[in-house]
Symmetry: C2
Subunit: 227 residues, 2 copies
C-alpha cells in the first residue's frame, strides 16, 4: 500500500545541511501494524511526514498505492492526504481557538464538509477517547494527555486507510494508553494500516512488525515475535 525507495531528506539551512533521511527503502502492506523506534533525532518524524504526504523527499521515490507522490501537484497531494491518511502529530497541532469537537471536525472541512451527522460523529469520537465531558473546552483548558486524545480522535474522523501516529501515547498514563492501544488494535483488525512511532518498548510490543532507525537509516526491520 506504500513503498519508499532509497528515500532521502535533507534540510538545507544555508551553511549547515541536516541529512534527516539517508536512503530509506521500505514496503508497507495493507493491514500492516508497524512500530518505528530509534533515538531522538534519528529521523522518525521526518519519515512519518513523508509517508503522510506532509513533506516531499529530497530524492528517492514514494509510491502510495500506485501513485508516485513526486509526480503529483500540491492540491492532489492534499486531497490524497485528506481522504486516506489520519495523522497524530508529536506536538498535536490543535487549533487554540477551536473547541474539542471543532478541532476533531477540522479534516472534514477540507473534504466532505460538515453537517449535523458529521458533528454527531465528532462527538462520538470525543467520547471514544474519554473526552465526553470536555466537548466545549479549548486546548488551553485541557491537560496534556487530553490534548493528545483530541489529536487521536481528529486523526480518525475521515475514516482513513492509513493511520500515522507520532508518539501518540507519550503523555498518557498506562490505563489511558492501554485504551488507545485497544482502539488501534480494533482499527487494525478492521483492515487499517497503522504505522506508529514510539520510544516505549511496551507500546511497540502491540505491533506486528518493528523497525528501528538510527541516523536517518533503517537499522533493523523484523516481525514482532511476541505481540
Amino acid at each position: 500500500v506504500a513503498e519508499l525507495r532509497d528515500l532521502r531528506k535533507v534540510y538545507d539551512l544555508g551553511e549547515v545541511k541536516v541529512e534527516a533521511l539517508r536512503g530509506v527503502s521500505l514496503t508497507f502492506e495493507e493491514g500492516d501494524y508497524v512500530a518505528i523506534m530509534g533515538s531522538s533525532g534519528s529521523g522518525k518524524s521526518t519519515l512519518l511526514n513523508v509517508l503522510g504526504c506532509l513533506d516531499r523527499p529530497s530524492s528517492g521515490q514514494y509510491l502510495l498505492g500506485d501513485i508516485d507522490v513526486a509526480t503529483v501537484d500540491d492540491d492532489t497531494l492534499s486531497e490524497i492526504r485528506g481522504r486516506r491518511i489520519g495523522f497524530i502529530f508529536q506536538s498535536y497541532n490543535l487549533i487554540q481557538q477551536l473547541t474539542v469537537v471543532e478541532n476533531i471536525e477540522v479534516p472534514l472541512l477540507y473534504q466532505e464538509g460538515t453537517s449535523p451527522e458529521t458533528r454527531e460523529r465528532c462527538i462520538e469520537l470525543a467520547k471514544m477517547v474519554g473526552l465526553g465531558a470536555r466537548l466545549d473546552h479549548r486546548p488551553n483548558q485541557l491537560s496534556g494527555g487530553q490534548q493528545q486524545r483530541v489529536a487521536i480522535a481528529r486523526s480518525l474522523v475521515n475514516d482513513p486507510f492509513i493511520i500515522l501516529a507520532d508518539e501518540a501515547t507519550g503523555n498518557l498514563d498506562s490505563k489511558t494508553s492501554e485504551e488507545i492501544m485497544e482502539l488501534l488494535a480494533r482499527l487494525n483488525e478492521e483492515g487499517k494500516t497503522i504505522i506508529m512511532v514510539t520510544h516505549e518498548e511496551d507500546i511497540a510490543e502491540h505491533a506486528k512488525r518493528i523497525i528501528r532507525m538510527k541516523d536517518g537509516l533503517v537499522l533493523e526491520d523484523s516481525i514482532n515475535s511476541s505481540p
Copy 2:
C-alpha cells in the same frame, strides 16, 4: 522547603467548574526526589504549576521556604520563581523565533541579565543535553526530543533549588532518557530538590518517593523501596 496545606484549584469556565485539585496536603524537604504519577487529567500539571508559582490556588496554603505564596504580589512571585525554580513544561513552551542557545538564555533575561560568561554557560548546557551541533537551530528545525532537551537545559540555567519536571522524558528514546535521568540524579546529589511528573514506571523508579494522584487528590504517598 515547600508545603501545601489543603490546596484546591478550581477552573471556572462559567457554566462548568473543573475541580482540578480538591484538597492536596503535601510536604517536601530539601533534597527530596519525588515522582508524581496518576491518570490523564488527575491534576498533576496543575499541582506542578502551583508549586512553580505559575498559578495561584483557589484556596488552601502554599508555603515556599517560610513565605506564604498567597500573601506575595505578582512581581515578588516572579522573582522567587526566577531565582529558585527551574521548570520543564509538558509542552516545552520554547520561543519559536529564538535559537537553541537564546531559548536557554531566556530565564537570565529576567534575573541577572546576559553576558559572554552566561552565553558560555548556555552553550555548555546545550552540549550537556546533546545539542552541541544544534546551537543555532530554531525549535521548528528540531525533532520533538531535541525540543524537549532545550526545555531541560533552560530549566537549569538559573541554577535553581527546585526542579519541576512535567513529563521531561516523554519524547525521548530510552538511551537519551537514561542520560537525562543521570543528570537529574547528579543534581539531586548536589542537593537540589526534584519533583517530576511521569506516567512511566521505569522513570518513576529513579525517584526516592512516589506520589500517586487521582481526580485532584493524593491517593498514595510512599517511599520508593527500590530506587
